[in-house]
Amino acid sequence: MNRESLEKTAADAGRTMEKRKRILRGRRALLAVCALLACGAVSTVSAADYGARFLQQYGVKVSTAPAMTPARSDANGLMESYAPVESKTNQPRHVVSGTNPHNGADLAMASGERVYAILPGKVTEIKSDLSAQLGSVIVDHDIDGDGTPDGVYIQYVHIDPAGAGGTGLRVGDYVTETTVIGTVDRAKRYNPHLHIQQVSQSRSGASSSRTLPLYTLYRHTSSETWNAGSDLDYLSSDWQSGNRLYLTAYAATDNPRTQRYDRNAPAEIQLHYKIGAGGKWKMSPVRFSLYEAQTMRYRIDLRQATGARKGQDVYVYAAAIRASDPTFPASAAYRHGLWPQFYKQPDRVLYAASSARADQAARKFTIQ
């Protein structure tokens, strides 16, 4: 599939997504998706299934909007500050409590540090129960700056919402990029940090709510900071060129031994596939190989990895196995993140009992 045909496929998929969003979010969201496509977004496809909590966005060229960072280094809120990432969206974790894989990205911000809206928008939800650092704010962001929110929802968690009470932040408030929406809560249950998460709905808690990747908001960021947004997602930025499939994959963690924030390469990235709609699922003996070390970019030749012939359709998903590190011991039971993304500890082998889960998760490619 060349780039032109990929974009056509992507556009088709995008139209499917538009339909979903029309139901979910109404007319304004439709306009937002049109804007995304016009800006070069490749596609957005639902991976809804048995227990999925992620809504996959595809593509190396997708850019929802160039958002600002939620941390700033000056009192006017103009100087962006790239807080190190302690854990990424869809990253397998070794935690006693909390979501696994991680349902958002953790930024190493300080207790009491101001949290700014990353784009303008309207506040749709405020939670002010601070007993376990679970205060949060959801903002429906205005991604094109026209003054109207576009159905891109960001939830800012573990914060003390600005001025909880009569004169503070309220649902319905319009905020700008220099508006403080809260401060990072003090240590109670977790170390102080900001958990930032792109969600599919204006209010949290609904079983139908999904998490979306964050990298599409920070494609402009440098390799020294958030690596084109890939610091925020365990697996991101897929790209197909000919029969080659590219992915960016690594874990992010704080390392108390070195006092550094590390980008840790996965132990391996497996490709699971079937040939043709009626084929049998299996794992390829071929693994993704490192293609670009600076950006942690991996690739695999789908023809070589699957043995499929030219013109055949192959259905694939990838499982990136997290390597052990100081915060992720060898004893960790759950070690994989999937692309396309899934949530609630899906089986690495989605077809162990039935092919239905793998069928729903997979993406289709036509071998060239």
């Binding site: 540090e113 220099t178 401060t183 102080p192 402009h220 900071t225 970019r297």
Partner: protein, 381 residues
């Protein structure tokens, strides 16, 4: 810098006394200097901050196979050229080469703040620069291109890299220099190795003696310093405190959450829609400002030496529409200015005591630009 800004700006603003619910004016924008992009002035250096267009270019330049971007969205000098140099950091277990951007000013190499390069910068009084990197502070000599540790590796019972904690320790960051240049304020979590608490503490380093000590027990956001070299912390819902840097004594000046800003002489704070308080930091006298269409503050800004505050006001909290209100701290005269036609105000900052930079975005084209408004001290009644 001040002369250059004055020459560039034609919009001279004379504040008028507030009378009831003043209507917002909008005729100041055609007379003000307007420059493309997002501008800010830090330490007398005018900067072009990466804006929407720069970021889109960087995103579009990514090679889809390698993931590498050909274009970087970074800070650059708004006037004069921007160069780069490298400096090696061999300390604290680090062996790295950092790249710095700089511009030339008065024959000196002035490093530019470049968060996109992975660190924060803070100028020191001696012309050198502090670099926040890898959870500590390092001193950069821009002339010799050398980096060296700045904080003591051991203070009291705390020792950097002791390795006794299972948590990461921030040895020093969020640095700020007092106006008299004698003290560095920084934030650290070094006590977490002992206490297990990770909320952090504010410490100072006496730049004359090298002594380092804790002065206030929590993190929070630094609003600024006053002319007596006291600093002000925004504690979120716990208010705003004034901290004496020498003894560490503190006083709560605002109770509860507020939108606040500090100049060298005044603290502005809003705790209730429709009014704001201005505290004279020398006398403690508090005056209340109302009118001018003031409702809910989205942001506030002050220059250190200036007598004026600028605030972004939301006449209707649920609407995207903002007004800019300029307030004279001496007279409480004010002027209320509507947004430029078709544009939204993004942010405000002071270039110096008289020149306000207003960043705006066109709602149709998304083009960003910065207006320079000159605020006149001769208030008219």
């Amino acid at each position: 810098m001040g002369k250059r800004l004055k020459a560039a700006s034609a919009g001279l603003l004379i504040l008028a006394a507030v009378s009831g619910s003043a209507l917002a004016e909008s005729d100041v924008w055609p007379q003000a200097a307007q420059e493309p992009g997002r501008l800010a002035v830090l330490q007398e250096t005018k900067l072009q901050l990466p804006g929407n267009a720069d970021k889109r270019k960087a995103a579009a330049s990514i090679d889809p196979a390698s993931g590498r971007a050909a274009v970087r969205a970074g800070v650059r000098a708004a006037e004069g050229s921007t160069g780069t140099f490298n400096a090696k950091l061999n300390a604290d277990g680090l062996n790295e080469t950092l790249t710095f951007r700089y511009t030339q000013s008065a024959g000196r190499r002035v490093p530019l703040p470049s968060p996109d390069l992975g660190y924060e910068l803070h100028p020191l009084p001696d012309g050198q620069v502090l670099v926040e990197y890898a959870s500590s502070l390092y001193k950069l000599n821009p002339d010799t291109k050398t980096l060296s540790p700045f904080l003591k590796a051991q203070t009291g019972s705390y020792r950097q890299g002791a390795g006794s904690s299972s948590k990461m320790i921030v040895w020093g960051k969020r640095a700020s220099i007092s106006p008299d240049g004698n003290v560095l304020l920084y934030w650290t979590t070094r006590s977490a190795a002992v206490s297990g608490r990770e909320d952090g503490e504010n410490w100072i380093k006496d730049l004359r003696t090298g002594e380092e000590k804790k002065v206030y027990g929590a993190g929070y956001t630094l609003l600024g310093w006053d002319t007596k070299n006291r600093f002000y912390l925004d504690l979120g819902d716990e208010g705003v405190v004034q901290v004496d840097r020498t003894g560490g004594s503190s006083a709560k000046l605002v109770t509860g959450s507020s939108v606040s800003a500090v100049s060298g002489t005044h603290l502005l704070s809003q705790t209730a829609d429709g009014s704001l308080n201005l505290r004279d930091l020398s006398t403690g006298r508090v005056r209340t400002f109302r009118g001018g269409g003031l409702n809910h503050l989205r942001a506030a800004s002050a220059s250190y030496e200036g007598r004026y505050f600028a605030v972004i006001n939301a006449p209707d909290r649920s609407s995207r529409v903002s007004t800019l209100i300029l307030i004279d701290t001496k007279t409480l005269d004010s002027r209320t200015i509507a947004e430029p036609a078709g544009s939204s105000i993004l942010g405000i900052s002071w270039a110096d005591s008289r020149h306000l930079l207003v960043q705006v975005r066109n709602r149709t084209t998304q083009a960003e630009s910065t207006y320079t408004l000159e605020v006149e001290g001769e208030a008219k009644r």
